[in-house]
């Protein structure tokens, strides 16, 4: 199967039809949600920085952002595909979204974010879609501006689909040049299906852990493995923890949470109904608001 990024530029590949199809696909929803959960875990946000402000690089229709919302975080998303952003609008995602090509840089003030995630996007940046596009140039501009927009001690975690070891090295060169530390975490390295790549980058060698300036040394997190993978004869590293995936999603309030087995349409309808109810119940009679939304009347 050919790789999407070889077929067309992202804003063309993710046109109206594909954006709708992608977002409505329950398998896609599940996988993106799982990978976002893992990315959030790898961010290792300190307690005193929660709820945090997170940048979602290549936010698409908001499948990744919704997980950030479930964790109680505020987020800002950037994406190059108007169709994907359109779907995000329809789904009433909570984050602010903007139309942007991250290969042109991000444009945020220094230290704006407590962390950044990017789910299934980075491989797109390694492609040249026009003669004026240089992947090296774009990666360099991207990482440099991302580095400055993150606060000291914070992390950026990229789940992506690298084409080759060379591509990983190529990407890492520009991340390192921009000032990032970090490396690659490969979850379930011996499983063809479950294997996932996470580039974990950090700003400064120490991560913030406490409210009073306490720090700890940044270290590459351990990869996840299936329990049987660690057994004798396996080629996987021996130091890995046999960590069972635990999801802390259930601890979070049901805000925006999708019930399993629910179609996207039902989900949106339910969410809208919820907003409608919330608008009625939460808003006192004398409020300036008549519902969740109202045209401004300054």
């Amino acid at each position: 199967m050919s790789r999407p990024e070889h077929i067309a530029p992202p804003e063309i590949f993710y046109g109206d039809v594909e954006a709708t199809k992608y977002t409505a696909n329950t398998r896609v929803q599940t996988i993106q949600a799982e990978m976002t959960e893992r990315a959030v875990e790898l961010l290792m946000l300190p307690e005193h920085r929660k709820p945090a402000l997170i940048l979602d690089i290549g936010c698409g229709s908001g499948l990744s952002g919704e997980i950030l919302t479930e964790h109680g975080h505020e987020w800002i998303g950037m994406d190059i595909s108007p169709s994907m952003l359109e779907v995000a609008l329809e789904r009433e995602t909570e984050g602010d979204i903007m139309l942007a090509d991250v290969g042109q840089g991000c444009g945020f003030r220094a230290g704006s974010f407590d962390g950044a995630i990017s789910i299934s996007v980075l491989q797109w940046l390694c492609n040249a879609d026009s003669t004026s596009h240089s992947p090296a140039q774009r990666l360099s501009t991207f990482f440099t501006s991302l580095y400055s927009s993150l606060s000291r001690g914070s992390r950026a975690v990229f789940q992506f689909y690298p084409e080759s070891d060379e591509q990983v090295k190529f990407i890492m060169t520009f991340a390192t040049k921009a000032g990032f530390g970090g490396g690659l975490v490969v979850d379930f390295p011996n499983s063809r299906k479950a294997k996932k790549f996470y580039l974990v980058l950090w700003v400064g060698g120490e991560m913030a852990v406490g409210p009073n300036g306490e720090t700890a040394k940044q270290e590459l997190p351990q990869a996840l493995m299936h329990e049987h993978e660690g057994e004798a004869g396996s080629s996987g590293p021996t130091s890995v923890k046999y960590e069972k995936r635990r999801s802390d999603r259930s601890k979070v309030k049901g805000k925006g949470k999708k019930k399993s087995g629910e179609s996207t349409k039902d989900y949106i309808l339910r969410k809208k109904e919820l907003y409608r109810k919330r608008g009625k119940e939460d808003v006192p009679k004398d409020s300036r608001y008549t519902g969740r939304k109202r045209k401004d009347a300054f």
């Binding site: 920085r49 402000l53 602010d96 903007m98 942007a100 042109q104 003030r109 808003v283 109202r294 300054f298």
Partner: protein
């Protein structure tokens, strides 16, 4: 787009790489919508040190909102002023810019806003390389 995001956005065109006059972007012909947001005082408190206060006050005033004090509160101390927290919640998280333009004070680049989504794309010659 909420004022939270606006308070972090600077012009990233090539003409503005060496200036500090690329912030805040100035609103023109904007349509605003108020969308109620659940109170999130912990988030606001964590976000306080990142606020560019003068820009926030100026921008809020340009939209006819003058609930914020001109003088930046002392953010080195924990903020327990409930009224101020409520004002900040409203200004940062409930005012949505739905339509209009943001103009760079330095290079005059116009960033269009449609359906609440700012277009931050630059033309080839404007890209900072």
């Amino acid at each position: 787009m909420r004022l939270l995001t606006h308070n972090l956005l600077a012009c990233h065109a090539r003409a503005c790489t060496t200036t500090s006059n690329n912030f805040p972007l100035i609103f023109k012909d904007v349509q605003v919508e108020l969308i109620q947001a659940e109170p999130n005082p912990d988030f606001i408190k964590g976000f306080l040190p990142k606020i560019e206060w003068n820009a926030l006050v100026k921008t809020a005033r340009s939209l006819g909102q003058d609930v914020l004090p001109e003088q930046s509160p002392d953010f080195s101390k924990p903020l327990n002023d409930e009224a101020l927290l409520n004002s900040l919640h409203h200004i940062l998280l409930e005012i949505h810019i739905m339509e209009g333009q943001m103009i760079c004070p330095n290079c005059s680049h116009i960033y269009q806003i449609r359906s609440g989504i700012p277009n931050m794309l630059l033309a080839e010659h404007e890209i900072n390389k």
